[in-house]
């Protein structure tokens, strides 16, 4: 009997656990270690953050789902990885610290035959002074989103009393990713203000580390529209302009105070923006594991990149932007030193960013870091689980499945509002996620697979995705038929 341990039960980890337990049956053990007791469909946090959904609609308890699937669920956080075992045992293990199941604070060693790191991001609010001081809100977790909505409701009350308000939404650091979430939130806030009849009382500004609107951390994208091949820059700017919203681009927010942020721009100049309500996305880092060899020596830097994400089969020495290739991106997501360790979703260390690296004349890097959204995260989780299952079943010693972001696309639907007939959304598809300028000279992407449009239809798709993915994550009948 082999034991597969999966650290993290978010999009990637839960997908990996669901498929692995299905494919391995009772002959082998699947253990999930995750500090959360509930699964959260994070994309719908946006709707929680504007009061269109309750927290209960975007989360569900994990324990009954794992019980049904025969997964050994430990509500605990993984702390350290010991891929060579210890002095008196060759069995690799991780150490975990319980956060629930009536064992809070207790530590344990958990041996594994195969390990998947799917621990997603650490929300690194500490990277920007003041970002963790409660002056701004976030929608990164369901609880954050509930709080964001409370603050937004207070703001709307003030507007109804005739007080003009300033709203600032965007990225809280020069090295943030997840611009898409901030983008979606600002449109939902604007839509909400219109519905409440107070849109004219608000000055709304988007602040972003992207060098142009619509970069999205992917170097932008192009699609065919109205007889032109159009850049996402025009597409995104048009959405803001249509709604009378301002934007500040190429900004590294370096300080947050009550009602004010200060920032540095790509041209080196400094600026200030005042706000009455602000939602700023924090930068992401790895969750901060330590790793040790058999002798107990620290090998964290062997297993993890300096940003805390896990090293996999990527080309980490690609050098300058001019040398970057789509093939730099990992395919099997296997650690090069320890072949029984894999990473999936946000937890793997990218070889480099996707957008062109930029910094201000003062040397401050201001560029988006690579997004690893829901669809690729789930596909990575499934591919890694499939490879490991084949290895456990003795079919092979090498990974059999790949999930490279340079060979897959992503679909993204950003809503504005939730009503079935009065909301609209932008539906975008991009293929491949990593631009491949050798295969698709010019724009780096397949113009037949990269599309964008706005309308109610995209909105209906967003609703369907919400219900379909929660159905799938609950492992309800037919869940395997719902694609990642």
């Amino acid at each position: 009997m082999a034991r597969l341990v999966i650290m993290g039960a978010g999009v990637a980890g839960h997908t990996a656990a669901s498929f692995a337990s299905d494919w391995l049956g009772k002959e082998h053990e699947v253990v999930v270690v995750t500090p959360n007791s509930q699964w959260n469909w994070i994309p719908s946090n946006i709707w929680v953050g504007v009061g269109e959904m309750s927290k209960d609609e975007v989360v569900f308890p994990l324990a009954p789902v794992y019980e049904k699937a025969g997964v050994d669920y430990r509500q605990a956080k993984a702390v350290s990885v010991h891929p060579e075992g210890k002095a008196d045992s060759d069995a690799p293990y991780i150490t975990i610290e319980y956060t629930g199941q009536d064992k809070e604070g207790q530590s344990e060693e958990l041996t594994y035959d195969y390990l998947i790191n799917a621990t997603g991001p650490k929300l690194n609010f500490g990277a920007t002074p003041g970002l963790d001081a409660g002056h701004t809100v976030s929608v990164c977790t369901a609880d954050h989103a509930v709080h964001a909505n409370v603050e937004l409701e207070n703001l709307i009350e003030k507007m109804k009393k005739g007080e003009k308000q300033k709203i600032l939404i965007g990225t809280g650091h020069g090295m943030c990713t997840c611009q898409g979430a901030a983008f979606e939130y600002i449109f939902n806030v604007e839509h909400k203000l219109k519905e409440e009849g107070v849109r004219d009382m608000a000055e709304i500004t988007f602040i972003t580390n992207e060098s142009f609107l619509g970069d999205f951390g992917m170097g932008g994208l192009h699609f065919k529209v109205g007889g032109f091949v159009t850049s996402s820059k025009v597409f995104a700017e048009s959405l803001y302009a249509e709604r009378g919203m301002n934007w500040i681009i190429g900004a590294h927010v370096n300080k947050v105070e009550a009602g004010k942020v200060t920032y540095e721009l790509l041209d080196g100049s400094a600026g200030e923006a005042e706000f009455d309500f602000s939602m700023l996305i924090p930068p992401f880092a790895g969750v901060g594991f330590t790793a040790f060899d058999k002798a107990g020596e620290d090998i964290t830097s062997k297993l993890f990149a300096p940003n805390g994400f896990m090293k996999v089969d990527a080309k980490y020495d690609a050098g300058a932007y001019e040398n970057w290739k789509a093939s730099d991106w990992p395919r099997t997501l296997q650690n090069p030193d320890y072949k029984n360790i894999f990473a999936a979703g946000i937890a793997f260390a990218p070889p480099h960013i996707i957008s062109k690296p930029m910094s201000s004349p003062n040397g401050t890097p201001i560029n988006p870091t690579p997004p690893r959204t829901g669809m690729p995260s789930a596909m990575m989780g499934k591919a890694v689980a499939a490879s490991i299952c084949d290895m456990i079943k003795g079919k092979t010693n090498e990974p059999t499945h790949t999930a490279s972001m340079s060979e897959m696309g992503a679909a993204c639907v950003a809503s504005a509002g939730k009503g079935l007939f009065n909301g609209t959304a932008a539906a975008m598809t991009v293929y491949p996620i990593i631009p491949d300028f050798e295969k698709y000279p010019g724009t780096g992407r397949d113009l037949n697979g990269t599309t964008g449009e706005i309308g109610l239809a995209a909105h209906w798709v967003k609703h369907i995705l919400h219900h379909a993915f929660i159905w799938k994550a609950k492992l309800k009948p037919g869940w395997t038929l719902i694609p990642e």
């Binding site: 596909m379 679909a411 697979g449 309308g455 109610l456 995209a458 209906w460 990642e484």
Partner: protein, 55 residues
């Protein structure tokens, strides 16, 4: 008025330099019949994308 949807744009502001949807384009976005057609189209596009992406 034909310029209703652009009247908030200030000359030489950043918004001045991009495209703004016409009234017809905005109407299409919420026209249920047209959107039903687009719904089918988006689903086809996403299905193709998923098929291309699984290895």
């Amino acid at each position: 008025m034909a310029t209703e949807h652009v009247k908030h744009i200030e000359a030489y502001s950043p918004q001045f330099g991009t495209m703004i949807p016409s009234g017809f384009q905005k109407w299409l976005r919420t026209c249920v019949l047209w959107q039903l057609v687009r719904f089918v189209a988006i689903n086809i596009k996403m299905t193709m994308l998923i098929l291309k992406s699984h290895h």
